[in-house]
């Protein structure tokens, strides 16, 4: 089996709100000093899901990790290689810049078609930067493959993939034919943590780079010029902080003060 993991490098979402800054002129996030970008967490979990299937299938299976991004995205690729993926693909081209979810899916789909023999693609449920949660589904439409989103568990058998999905109030197990796109959620569990020897081994694995022309893409169809959705304004919302702390010498007094406030405000 050939499994693909789509991995995106993003600004660390645990950046404290005080260090989170926006450049309103370019509608972009200013990298917080001293905080390195990371592999979007759900993509690490997607990699874990793909690797477990690979391991259950034995030696002739492989996992390829694909990332569209700047040269720095190699770090995200290396991380998935250290987890156990076999090969990496970096999709880096000026023409890809400034794109939306649609052009991202278009480029990823072109890369997957270029690889040729892919059975299943694993994405995160959403990239933890823009929080869109649509590239996996757009990819399945681009490729005309089946899809199952927000997976908590994934199993493979007899040419079908069975996915346990998280619903609003419960779970559902669906079976879908291959090829398919699966998006993975945090309920799946933690991804494995690579150890030093694996990190060293990852350094030796190949990362192939493709640009628009390698994938037969017209530069005007991708990136900013191919986008259908445009960010017109990016800003930090105001929060009104007028917190009133409950005074008191003992927890009892503080609790009593709070209950009084809540009663006065008719909240309880």
């Amino acid at each position: 089996m050939h499994l693909v993991v789509c991995a995106k490098q993003i600004p660390d979402p645990d950046t404290p709100p005080s260090a989170f800054k926006i450049d309103e002129a370019t509608n972009s996030v200013v990298p917080a000093p001293g905080i390195s970008p990371i592999l979007s967490q759900f993509d690490g979990i997607a990699a874990e899901a793909a690797l477990r299937i690979k391991e259950s299938q034995g030696d002739d299976s492989k996992v390829t990790v694909i990332s569209m991004g700047a040269d720095s995205a190699r770090a995200a690729i290396k991380q998935v290689l250290a987890m156990g993926a076999d090969e990496g693909v970096l999709l880096n081209d000026d023409a890809f810049e400034g794109g939306d979810s649609y052009t991202t899916a278009k480029v990823l789909a072109a890369a997957i078609n270029h690889l040729g023999d892919v059975d299943a693609v694993f994405c995160g449920r959403q990239a933890a930067d823009w929080d869109m949660g649509q590239v996996g589904l757009l990819l399945s439409e681009e490729l005309n493959w089946a899809s199952a989103i927000i997976a908590k568990g994934v199993e493979y058998g007899d040419g079908n993939i069975s996915v346990q999905r998280v619903l609003t109030d419960g779970f559902e197990t669906v079976s879908t034919q291959l090829p398919a796109v699966v998006t993975v959620s945090n309920e799946f569990g933690e991804p494995r943590y690579p150890k030093l020897p694996q990190i060293m081994a990852a350094a030796k694995k190949t990362v192939t780079q493709f640009g628009a022309s390698d994938l037969g893409l017209d530069p005007s169809d991708v990136g900013a010029s191919g986008s259908r959705l445009k960010v017109e304004r990016l800003y930090i919302p105001e929060t009104d902080s007028n917190v009133e702390f409950m005074e008191g010498d003992t927890p009892q007094e503080q609790a009593a003060a709070l209950v009084q406030k809540l009663q006065a405000d008719k909240l309880i």
């Binding site: 600004p11 645990d14 950046t15 404290p16 709100p17 989170f20 509608n27 939306d100 979810s101 649609y102 959403q126 823009w130 929080d131 869109m132 949660g133 649509q134 589904l137 757009l138 439409e141 899809s147 199952a148 989103i149 927000i150 069975s162 998280v166 619903l167 609003t168 109030d169 419960g170 779970f171 559902e172 669906v174 879908t176 945090n186 259908r228 959705l229 960010v231 017109e232 304004r233 990016l234 800003y235 930090i236 919302p237 929060t239 007028n242 917190v243 009133e244 702390f245 409950m246 003992t250 927890p251 009892q252 503080q254 609790a255 009593a256 709070l258 209950v259 809540l262 909240l267 309880i268």
Partner: protein
Amino acid sequence: MAQNILVIGELDDGAASTTTLELLAGASSLSDGGSVGVTLLGAGASSAATSCVGATVAYVNDDSEYDSFRGDQWLNAIAGAVESSSPDVVLIAQSIVGREIGPRLSHRLGTAVAMDCVSISNDGGATKATRPCFGGNAMATYGFETSPAIATVRAKSFEILESGSGPATTEELPGAGESRTAIIATEEATSEGLQIQDAPVVVCGGRGLGEAEAFSQIEEIAAAIGADKAAVGASRAAVDLGWYPPSQQVGLTGKVVTPDLYLAVAVSGASQHMAGCSGSKTIVGINRDEEANIWSFSRYGIIGDYKQIVPALIEELKKAAGN
């Protein structure tokens, strides 16, 4: 400028879901005299359509095959409604249905979707969609280069219309055809009684509780406020640790709640958590960290160890209830 709007509705126990009614309210103000269509699929759809205040036309099919959501079947039906209503804007809830239909429909119609929006405006005929991003640290307003503009909308972004008329006409959509996915099993979460989305008070526990057992104290707070008023939620960190069920998770990847009172105990107030509760009328924190992010959103707070504060609070709440 008048716009035709199509709302992809959902049924909840045979009635139009609350979010469907919210979307219809949003649609009628956006439409500016244009048509407002609503699609409803599944058993009871035609009768539920009559309660869709704000809609001018309903597109329905009562086929119970639609009761369990399968994207490909729904997309085929929705394609029919799109063809006959030629919408400028399509609104869908940010639900299990919307998370899948939004992107797939956008692709099939050669257009784009903005996911998880909290406000939509009609700017002289151009649709603008605003949504939180970067875990709630930022907001982005989008414009569309293609039509229709599609948006999935976060729960409670519009207020339901109190009065008005339902759809004047109803059109029949085709019944469900084949699907590439088969549903093998479903498992309902056992959340009995008051749901967190509906409760006027939500008491939420976080990782700072330190252990699963401490959630019984959170439940005690809720019980002291009243089982008919208060429900219990949890942060993702607490859910990921297995301390509380995923159905109770509040936040960006959990549920959106807007109670009158949101009491966050040992919750840091990370932006992704606040994404699910910042619309609450009054937020109260109990946290031992003076610098916790929760204070940026709180009206009242107690700084201290919950192990001391919570038992005292339960006692005071019981006293208050006794009066």
